[in-house]
């Protein structure tokens, strides 16, 4: 299933001019507030009628201004998880979940029991939305959208209203949806952490235009991207495999450039994962450092450097077959004589990797 989108739309204050393809998996629509993310998602859902363009899901045309096609919202079969959930207050959780099924019963898709299990909401069925916590509300909203057996799922900042620990509770559920259901998702977010954890493809929106698009690994290790993301949030995503859990509370992961020791993850041994390593948590050394408390020292090669406006420099390094980013001072970069091709050692402090930044691969 592939969503192809090419729309132009004038909004008060700015113009949307967006083209991208969203293949299977989770496509993250990333950008600052006001970049036009929600408008794009609304156009896919049919809640916004673009001035011109075309939106198609494989061969099924949802919107085509040239041929005067605009499928009404209720015929699009596209699930939508709203930022504010929008559960029906006059229905129980069970009735909310079952709502879309009456028009979708003849299509294949997950059953109520499967979704209850996947989202851990079986114990909530008899409750009313007003008696749910924020995290429960969003899980039910995701379940309700999936029960309508959509061809595609739109999620508009579904975690924005939640605190950090609630977010951490929901992320594994979203990963399971990504890996166990074949429903492609368009995921709007302005959180790099969420994008790094969930996305397979990233589309960066800036002032109503696509600034860049590509697979998540490439995008997050791209130096051009650092400007959009901000230096504090910049960081590469590495595919990894859980090798072992050690009794001292560490988990050993294998990445293409060597081994990483990180705080214990909940994933089983042998599970494939992805780890986000923030650029500011990486230290560079010319020689193999000795007598250092940091556990992770990976050999790497400088592939690119970019100086920012401040005192910092962002380095892109090849580490095995993947890339990582390191943020160091310009002074250090000059002292070490860093240039592309230079061999270095990347030092990563184990405890600086947030468990939220380790997710299913």
């Amino acid at each position: 299933m592939n969503l192809s989108l090419d729309i132009r739309h004038s909004l008060p204050g700015f113009t949307l001019d967006v083209q991208f393809d969203a293949p299977s998996g989770i496509t993250a629509l990333f950008g600052k507030s006001g970049a036009g993310k929600t408008s794009v998602v609304n156009a896919v859902a049919g809640l916004l009628m673009p001035d011109a363009g075309r939106i198609a899901l494989d061969n099924s045309v949802l919107f085509d201004s040239r041929h005067n096609i605009a499928l009404p919202v209720h015929k699009r079969q596209i699930g939508y998880v709203f930022q504010d959930a929008r559960l029906f207050p006059h229905m129980t959780v069970e009735a909310n979940l079952a709502y879309g099924l009456r028009w979708a019963a003849d299509r294949p898709g997950p059953t109520l029991a499967e979704l209850c299990d996947l989202l851990d909401i079986a114990h909530l069925l008899a409750r009313y939305p007003r008696d749910l916590s924020g995290g429960e509300t969003q899980r039910v909203a995701i379940g309700r959208a999936l029960m309508s057996r959509p061809r595609m799922l739109l999620l508009d900042e579904p975690l924005a209203a939640l605190d950090a620990s609630r977010k951490a509770d929901i992320l594994p559920h979203l990963e399971r949806l990504r890996d166990e259901l074949a429903v492609p998702m368009l995921y709007v977010s302005h959180s790099v952490a969420e994008v790094a954890r969930l996305a397979t493809t990233v589309v960066i929106l800036e002032n109503g235009r696509v600034a860049q698009t590509g697979p998540v690994g490439d995008m997050l290790s791209d130096l051009q991207m650092v400007r959009q993301i901000g230096v504090r949030e910049a960081g590469a995503v590495l595919p990894a495999t859980v090798v072992a859990h050690h009794p001292d509370g560490l988990s050993e992961l294998s990445v293409s450039g060597g081994r990483l020791f990180l705080p214990r993850t909940a994933l089983a041994e042998g599970a494939s994962t992805r780890v986000r390593i923030l650029a500011q948590d990486v230290i560079l050394a010319s020689d193999v450092p000795r007598g250092l408390s940091a556990l992770n020292i990976l050999p790497a090669q400088v592939t690119d450097l970019r100086a920012g406006d401040g005192p910092g420099v962002i380095c892109q390094l090849r580490c095995g077959t993947d890339h990582i980013l390191a943020r160091i001072t310009r002074r250090s970069a000059e002292a070490m004589g860093l240039t592309p091709g230079h061999d270095v050692h990347a030092v990563i402090k184990a405890v600086s990797v947030d468990p939220v930044d380790v997710g299913r691969g």
Partner: protein, 228 residues
């Protein structure tokens, strides 16, 4: 009740109840449609439409009654049309009292339903659409259930107003015992004859009780809507 009330008085109360119930039920779908149009749609002439609906609220009731007589009387265009097509005659019949009561109560009903509609979040309706519900199904499964308390409050208010309607009714359908003599008309008639005060007072008490009960019920429902 029947022992306490004389047969004429009882007849007036029963007729008033029948007129008010029928007027409320018949105008309810129109009230919902008008309120929906006013709350959700923009169309040319919306202010005029709004004004027309509210006109009976500000017009002297006797004027409304006279206009009804002109339109729906035996010689009126609408009256002749109804007589010819449906065989329904309104002038000087209880059905005419229903029409007068419905027209007079309509603005109150529309206002209550419109207020309730404005508390129904259109975002919930668009959520229902993304789940596969067409416009009609969205209305039936989301809008209407959320509207229900306001709808009932509007209906009760309209019922109370219809129970008490006097000016337009007596002008349009006169004051015929057993046919068009509603409770207020009966009070008026009793007060015109010597010794009728006791009967009038009994009807007044019933009138106060019914109106007060309706107002309380309507208030209670309105507060339930506000709480949500």
């Amino acid at each position: 009740m029947t022992a306490w009330l004389g047969p004429d008085e009882w007849q007036a109360v029963a007729l008033s109840l029948r007129v008010a119930v029928v007027a409320t039920l018949i105008s309810l779908p129109f009230g919902v449609a008008a309120a929906y149009a006013l709350a959700r749609w923009e169309f040319p002439g919306k202010q005029l439409f709004n004004g027309l609906i509210h006109l009976p609220l500000v017009l002297p009731p006797v004027v409304t009654g006279y206009l009804l007589l002109l339109a729906f009387g035996p010689q009126g265009p609408a009256g002749r049309f109804l007589e010819a097509i449906f065989g329904v005659s309104l002038a000087f019949r209880w059905t005419g009292a229903v029409l007068a009561a419905a027209i007079m109560a309509f603005p109150l009903m529309v206002r209550a339903i419109r207020l309730a509609l404005e508390t129904v979040d259109p975002k919930l309706e668009s959520a229902a659409a993304t789940l596969g519900a067409g416009p009609r199904q969205v209305f039936l499964t989301v809008t209407l259930p959320l509207l229900l308390p306001g709808l009932i409050a509007g209906a009760i208010l309209a019922f109370a107003k219809a129970m008490g309607e006097f000016g337009a009714t007596i002008t349009f359908v006169s004051n015929i015992p057993g046919e068009t003599q509603t409770l207020p008309s009966a009070v008026y008639a009793f007060l015109q004859v010597p010794g009728g005060e006791a009967a009038a007072m009994r009807l007044v008490i019933i009138s106060v009780i019914v109106s007060m009960g309706a107002l309380l019920a309507s208030e209670m429902l309105a507060r339930r809507v506000a709480r949500k």
